[in-house]
C-alpha cells in the first residue's frame, strides 16, 4: 500500500516537474516495485492516469489553454483505437509487451533529453528584472 502511494506521489511530482506523463512512470513502478505483471501494470496505470488528467485539464482549462471541441473530438475518436490497442496488448505475451514498453521508455527519455537541451541551451542567465509574470509558463504533464 505504501509502495503504491509512493509510486503515485513520485510519479506525480516528476510529471509536474518535467512534463512527462504519469503512465510512463506508473507502469515501470508497478512492475519493478509492486511486482505486477506487465498487463496488470498497464491496465492499472490507465485507471490511475484518469484523476491526474482530470486535475490537469481543470487547471489548464482555467488558463484557457484547452481547445474543448478538439479535445472532445480526439477523445471520442480514440475509442476504436483504444479498444484495438488493449486487444493487441492482451494478444501479446507479457514478455513481448514488456520489451516493447522498455523501447517506449528509451524513446521518451530521448524526447526528454532533446526538449531539455533545446529549451535551455545554457543555464538561465541572471535575467534583468525577472518577475513572476515574465517567467516561462509551466510545462504540463502529458
Amino acid at each position: 500500500m505504501i509502495g503504491a502511494i509512493a509510486i503515485g506521489v513520485a510519479g506525480g511530482v516528476v510529471a509536474g516537474l518535467l512534463g512527462v506523463g504519469g503512465g510512463v512512470l506508473f507502469v515501470p513502478g508497478l512492475v519493478i516495485f509492486l511486482g505486477l505483471d506487465q498487463h496488470h501494470a498497464e491496465a492499472t496505470s490507465l485507471l490511475a492516469i484518469v484523476p491526474v488528467a482530470i486535475a490537469g485539464t481543470y487547471r489548464q482549462d482555467r488558463y484557457g489553454n484547452v481547445r474543448r471541441h478538439d479535445a472532445l473530438l480526439l477523445g471520442v475518436l480514440s475509442l476504436a483505437g483504444a479498444i484495438a490497442g488493449v486487444v493487441l496488448a492482451n494478444a501479446l505475451s507479457g514478455q513481448v509487451l514488456r520489451d516493447a514498453f522498455a523501447a517506449l521508455l528509451v524513446v521518451v527519455a530521448a524526447q526528454l533529453v532533446r526538449s531539455t537541451l533545446r529549451a535551455a541551451p545554457i543555464p538561465p542567465a541572471p535575467a534583468p528584472a525577472r518577475t513572476a509574470e515574465a517567467s516561462p509558463p509551466p510545462r504540463r504533464p502529458r
Binding site: 510519479g11 490511475a48 488528467a53 484495438a84 521508455l105
Partner: protein
C-alpha cells in the same frame, strides 16, 4: 486520425498517449506547444478511461492499486508544478532520462 493513433498507443502501452498527441497536434494542426499539451491532457481523460474500461473487461485492472497510485499522484503533480517554477529542472530532466533508460534495462532483463 490522431485520436485513433493515440487510442491505439494508449491502449497498447497503458500510458496517456501525450507523447503521440502533442507532436501530431503541433505538426498537423499547427497548435502551439501549450495548447497542444493542454488539449492532449483533456483528450487523455477520455482515452485513458476508455482503455481502462476495456482492460477492465479483461480483468486486468487493479482498482485499489490504481486509486492508491492515481489519487496521491494528483497531489504530486501539484507539488511538481510548484517546484518547477522554483528550481532549475535541466539537470533533473537529464538525470531522469537516465532513470528511464535504467528502468527500460531493468524491464528487459526481468
Amino acid at each position: 486520425m490522431i485520436g485513433t493513433l493515440a487510442g491505439l498507443f494508449s491502449g497498447l502501452f497503458g500510458v496517456g498517449g501525450g507523447s503521440v498527441i502533442v507532436p501530431l497536434l503541433v505538426l498537423w494542426l499547427a497548435y502551439d506547444e501549450r495548447s497542444a499539451t493542454a488539449t492532449s491532457l483533456a483528450a487523455i481523460v477520455f482515452i485513458a478511461a476508455f482503455a481502462a474500461a476495456v482492460q477492465g473487461a479483461y480483468g486486468n485492472v487493479d482498482v485499489r492499486d490504481a486509486a492508491l497510485v492515481g489519487v496521491p499522484a494528483v497531489g504530486g503533480v501539484l507539488a511538481g508544478t510548484w517546484l518547477q517554477q522554483r528550481i532549475p529542472t535541466r539537470t533533473i530532466a537529464l538525470l531522469f532520462a537516465l532513470v528511464l533508460v535504467a528502468s527500460a534495462v531493468e524491464l528487459v532483463l526481468r
